[in-house]
Amino acid sequence: MSGDPYSPAVRALFAEPGHVGDVDGGEWAMLDEQGVRVRLSAVAKAGTIEAMRFRAWGCPHLIAAAEWLCGYYEGRPLAALEEFPRAPIMENLAIPTEKTGRILVLEDTVRSLGQKFGEGS
């Protein structure tokens, strides 16, 4: 019962996110819901996600989750965008249950991004 609302993973990802920004020439999706705002953008080559970037306005959990997600998807096939790694995020980052709603916004943004790639291909 340390009382720290942030896991070490959240603290680290929040403090030094390496994936903040936008990619050039790929697809992007953005959602503004539940008091948070997330924008994800990615470029793919031969069905593989080459780079993914985020912008976010929200709490540390959301920012950390977005950062983690970018690292997760880079190098995975585009099809992976259809399967949001909710359990790994909740567990690895120790997201408190009351923040689930915000992670769902992130999930919706990923799905939306996947659809963009689907339409574009």
Binding site: V20, D32, R39, R55, W57, G58, C59
Partner: protein, 386 residues
């Protein structure tokens, strides 16, 4: 605390003055008898408590006999408000307070509402200051009691206690003041102020936690029903074995404060100037409260910044969002909402609160951390959705 931590949360609680700690230890070691006991050891602790009452009475310029020891301002507020309301119920069931009071006040009034008391909460202006005319307009013929805080714990706003109290005296309304954030920090002369009850707590002015006091004016129409019963201590108003060492520590803190109030205020004014000058030019920043409030507190909101991330980015600076007593809830501060702030504005609010030990360097560090955090978070945010 680790050495790098920069504590700017003095409004939540202060460190204990080392002289107070020494006094507590000395008394705990030498005068541990029960002060209710008539034997020599008991008489000794009794004398120590009388001495502490004199010290606290000195700070407030009142007869020590008017002071009741409690466990802190929460208890003092409850004792004053529900104790008086119940004692004077026959005089009328209307009570007046303010929307921006501490929970230890508003929650008591809310409870009394459930017991057939009628409560009016007056609203302050957008700068947090209550207009005495608005206060007077809220008083009715059946108003028996009013409670207005001295210094607001979130914004540092100071109310015009003298004028408000004079209005109450004229209308035969008992007047309670929650002075948890004012005692030991602003000069208070209860021999002149028209105040009937005043709450205070040790841990807000370098005294111990777990001890406070309630001043009750010595007048036959001012009396409180106790919150709890047992033993005959403190004229049955507040029974229980008195914690001699904590009371001695509170007395010591009062005596130390007596000599330092002006110097402390000058110090805090300088620090607040450095802080406000250092951040006031940031785009979208907004002061919560009035410019001439208590200088130990500076509360600012900022546009387009999420409060929780701001707070984390400010580490290792320890500051509060909203009221510390309330900071576990994610609700935007009701105090800032009452000042007309939007949820988003309230949610981005940071309360910097400084104290006697705060240095210029700490405040300068806070300025640079705040600027950096705002820049970084804004840099991370997406544009508005189309």
């Amino acid at each position: 605390m680790t050495t790098e931590m920069v504590y700017l949360d003095y409004a939540a609680s202060t460190p204990v003055d080392p002289r107070v700690l020494d006094r507590i230890r000395e008394v705990a070691e030498s005068a541990y008898a029960n002060p209710s006991s008539t034997h020599a050891a008991g008489r000794q602790t009794h004398t120590i408590i009388a001495g502490a009452a004199k010290q606290l009475g000195g700070l407030l310029n009142v007869d020590p006999q008017t002071l009741i020891w409690t466990s802190g301002a929460t208890e003092s507020d409850n004792l004053a408000i529900s104790g008086t309301a119940r004692y004077r119920a026959h005089r009328g069931r209307h009570l007046v307070s303010m929307r921006t009071e501490h929970k230890a006040v508003t929650d008591v009034f809310d409870m009394l509402r459930g017991q057939d008391f009628d409560v009016t909460y007056v609203d302050p202006g957008p700068d947090g200051v209550l207009d005495p005319a608005d206060f007077e307009a809220a008083l009715r013929d059946d108003t028996q009691f009013a409670s207005i805080m001295y210094v607001n714990n979130e914004t540092g706003v100071i109310q015009d206690i003298e004028t408000l109290g004079a209005i109450c005296r004229e209308r035969n309304v008992l007047f309670h003041v929650d002075a948890a954030q004012a005692v030991g920090k602003l000069p208070i002369d209860l021999s002149k102020l028209p105040v009937d009850l005043m709450s205070l707590t040790g841990h807000k002015f370098y005294g111990p936690k777990g001890v406070g006091a309630l001043y009750i004016v010595d007048r036959s129409d001012c009396h409180v029903e106790p919150l709890f019963y047992g033993g005959g201590q403190q004229r049955r108003i507040r029974p229980g074995t008195l914690p001699t060492d904590l009371i001695a520590g509170l007395g010591e803190a009062a005596e130390i404060a007596s000599g330092l109030i002006e110097a402390d205020l000058a110090h805090l004014r300088e620090l607040r100037d450095i802080l406000w000058t250092g951040i006031q030019d940031i785009d979208g920043i907004r002061l919560n409260g009035s410019a001439d409030g208590f200088p130990g507190i500076l509360n600012v909101s900022i546009a387009d910044i999420e409060g929780e991330s701001l707070l984390l980015d400010l580490e290792p600076i320890c500051v509060a969002t909203g009221s510390a007593c309330n900071s576990k809830s994610q609700e935007p501060s009701y105090v800032l909402r009452a000042l007309g702030r939007t949820d988003l504005e309230a949610q981005s609010a940071i309360r910097f609160s400084m104290g006697r030990p705060t240095t210029r360097a700490e405040v300068e560090f806070a300025v640079s951390k705040y600027r950096d955090a705002v820049a970084r978070l804004r840099g991370m945010a997406p544009g508005q959705a189309a």
